[in-house]
């Protein structure tokens, strides 16, 4: 070690603070999150394989009634990315908080938006891989009968993944430990799962529950999937559903940014 020479560092870069998102910092953050996952191949394998295994099981559970498989299978293609990205994101951000790296990053010239967008980008990429495999398997090997384009299924799946990432980021602000973070899944996801129309069509539910389901974003995720299932073209309803899910995701991401505090007690 030769401190005398090392103290001469290259000239400091001129870095004016950006007001909005910084492209380089956002992509650097996304690359870092993916690199972390890259050192954890088992998590990636679980993320990618579990939806496929579940769809495979489902296909043969409903061996005698392929119409039921079509409807539930399409809904699940939307629900899987939401749930897995919710879990992965809430744990990842919680770890960032507890390891002190969040404190360090927020003392650096990193915008909160850069961090959140970086996470969304990284997990969005992962969700594309997950959804492509699951959709491909369902449509081409398990004979899931979609009337519309499988690409539209993929679009909804991606929006659902973003929504899951957004919700995960948001709730991690309220979780002080991994135990609490995991408990947020039954609290945030299960009610939506029950009410989203997976078990009974939403109009058949008690009016109070139907009204409640109307304000839960997962309902629109499942509706969107069913639109693709039943119609050849992109219907107006499909566009509305997709827009609602996307808006919810952006809204919750913004809320998530607001819960990141540079100063903590």
């Amino acid at each position: 070690m030769t401190p005398t020479t090392n103290a001469h560092a290259p000239a400091p870069p001129a870095t004016p603070r950006p007001s909005a998102l910084n492209y380089s910092r956002t992509t650097a953050t996304a690359a870092r999150v993916l690199r972390q996952l890259g050192h954890d191949p088992r998590t990636i394998a679980l993320l990618v394989l579990i939806p496929c295994v579940m769809l495979f099981l489902l296909r043969y559970v409903f061996d005698g009634s392929p119409r039921v498989f079509d409807s539930i299978g399409a809904s699940l293609l939307g629900i899987f990315p939401l749930i897995t990205m919710f879990l992965v994101t809430s744990i990842a951000t919680l770890r960032e908080r507890t390891s002190g790296t969040l404190e360090r990053l927020l003392a650096m010239p990193l915008g909160k938006g850069d961090l959140i967008a970086g996470y969304a980008l990284a997990f969005g990429t992962l969700a594309i891989i997950q959804s492509t495999l699951a959709t491909g398997l369902a449509v081409w090997f398990l004979d899931l009968d979609v009337t519309g384009s499988p690409w539209l299924l993929l679009v909804v799946a991606l929006l659902d993944a973003l929504l899951g990432t957004a919700l995960g980021l948001f709730v991690s602000a309220f979780a002080a430990s991994e135990f609490q973070a995991v408990q947020f899944m039954p609290a945030v996801i299960f009610p939506q799962l029950l009410l989203c129309g997976l078990f009974t069509p939403r109009p058949d539910m008690h009016p109070a529950l139907e009204a409640l389901s109307n304000v839960l974003p997962m309902s629109y995720a499942v509706d969107g999937m069913n639109e693709v299932l039943l119609h050849t073209d992109m219907t107006a309803n499909f566009i509305r559903d997709a827009a609602i899910v996307a808006t919810c995701a952006l809204l919750v991401l913004t809320l998530g940014a607001a819960t990141l505090r540079r100063r903590t007690t």
Binding site: M1, P3, T4, N6, A7, H8, A9, P10, A11, P12, P13, T15, R17, N22, S24, R25, A28, T29, A31, R32, R35, Q36, H39, D40, S99, G100, T101, E103, R104, L105, L106, A107, M108, P109, L110, R261, R262, R263, T264, T265
Partner: protein, 263 residues
């Protein structure tokens, strides 16, 4: 407020009536002090006296700070300061599931973003790894390193850019004497050649002798703010350790004396 002559550079850190509460406890009480520019200031005090809290206030990550705290001419925590301060938290804050080099590359990309800076970032990262003597472990996962090695990775992050102020919370704790000496040589080189200001907390008293100035803290208050030499002379002690013990004992005795009638 103190007045400084025009010849002297303004202090790097200036606190007036600085108070911090954490939970229901007042952790720092009405602190007034100045940390001079371009020098190494040691922050010493018993465990729990508020050293880390003070450092968090300076880098702007501590909530519920009242009074004035100016850092490099800006209020502490101002966005303009974020690229000018290097900060090492007491617990190593690195990603355990990234290698040493990947950790540093990420933080470097935050400090100095953009494709055009790739070359410079690479140099900075390699230099920072060499500075903390981890070149042979550059491709090891941070989670697989020893405790001292992990805290050196954390330190390397703060050495990445060219910060004008380095706030280091116990950077040499748990390191061997050879490495500690080398790091202190590095700190002195940074102060001398880059005219950077360093604020370093420590429990190791022979390190205190190597600081230009010392801030002695006890229970959220500043006991002394002086050069090591002046402290020794004032307390008729041979070492800073003896001077420190003398001052703490004196303060404890005064406290006991003052509290007696109140009870």
């Amino acid at each position: 407020m103190m007045n400084y002559s025009s010849k002297k550079p303004p202090p790097a850190i200036q606190a007036d009536n600085l108070t911090v509460t954490r939970g229901h406890r007042t952790v720092l009480r009405n602190l007034d002090f100045a940390v001079p520019h371009g020098q190494i200031t040691g922050l010493l005090g018993p465990s729990g006296c508020g050293k880390s809290t003070l450092m968090r206030a300076i880098v702007g990550t501590q909530a519920k700070v009242t009074g004035t705290l100016k850092v490099l001419g800006h209020p502490a925590g101002a966005p303009a300061l974020r690229s000018r301060i290097g900060y090492v938290t007491q617990a190593p804050s690195v990603y355990d599931d990234l290698t040493v080099r990947q950790n540093l590359a990420y933080f470097a990309a935050i400090l100095d973003p953009g494709r055009t800076a790739t070359e410079r970032r690479h140099e900075n990262v390699t230099r920072a790894i060499a500075d903390v003597d981890l070149t042979s472990h550059a491709d090891a996962l941070a989670g697989n390193l020893s405790g001292g090695q992990r805290s050196r990775v954390s330190l390397a992050v703060a050495l990445l850019g060219t910060p004008e102020l380095l706030v280091l919370d116990e950077p040499t704790v748990g390191l061997d004497p050879v490495l500690r000496r080398d790091l202190w040589d590095l700190f002195h080189a940074i102060a001398a050649q880059r005219r950077a200001t360093l604020l370093i907390s420590s429990h190791v008293m022979d390190e205190a002798e190597r600081c230009h100035r010392l801030l002695l803290m006890r229970e959220g208050e500043i006991l002394a703010d002086d050069t090591p030499e002046a402290l020794r002379t004032r307390t008729h002690a041979d070492t800073v350790e003896a001077a420190f013990l003398h001052l703490v004992d004196e303060a404890t005795a005064t406290d006991a004396h003052h509290k007696e009638p109140a009870r």
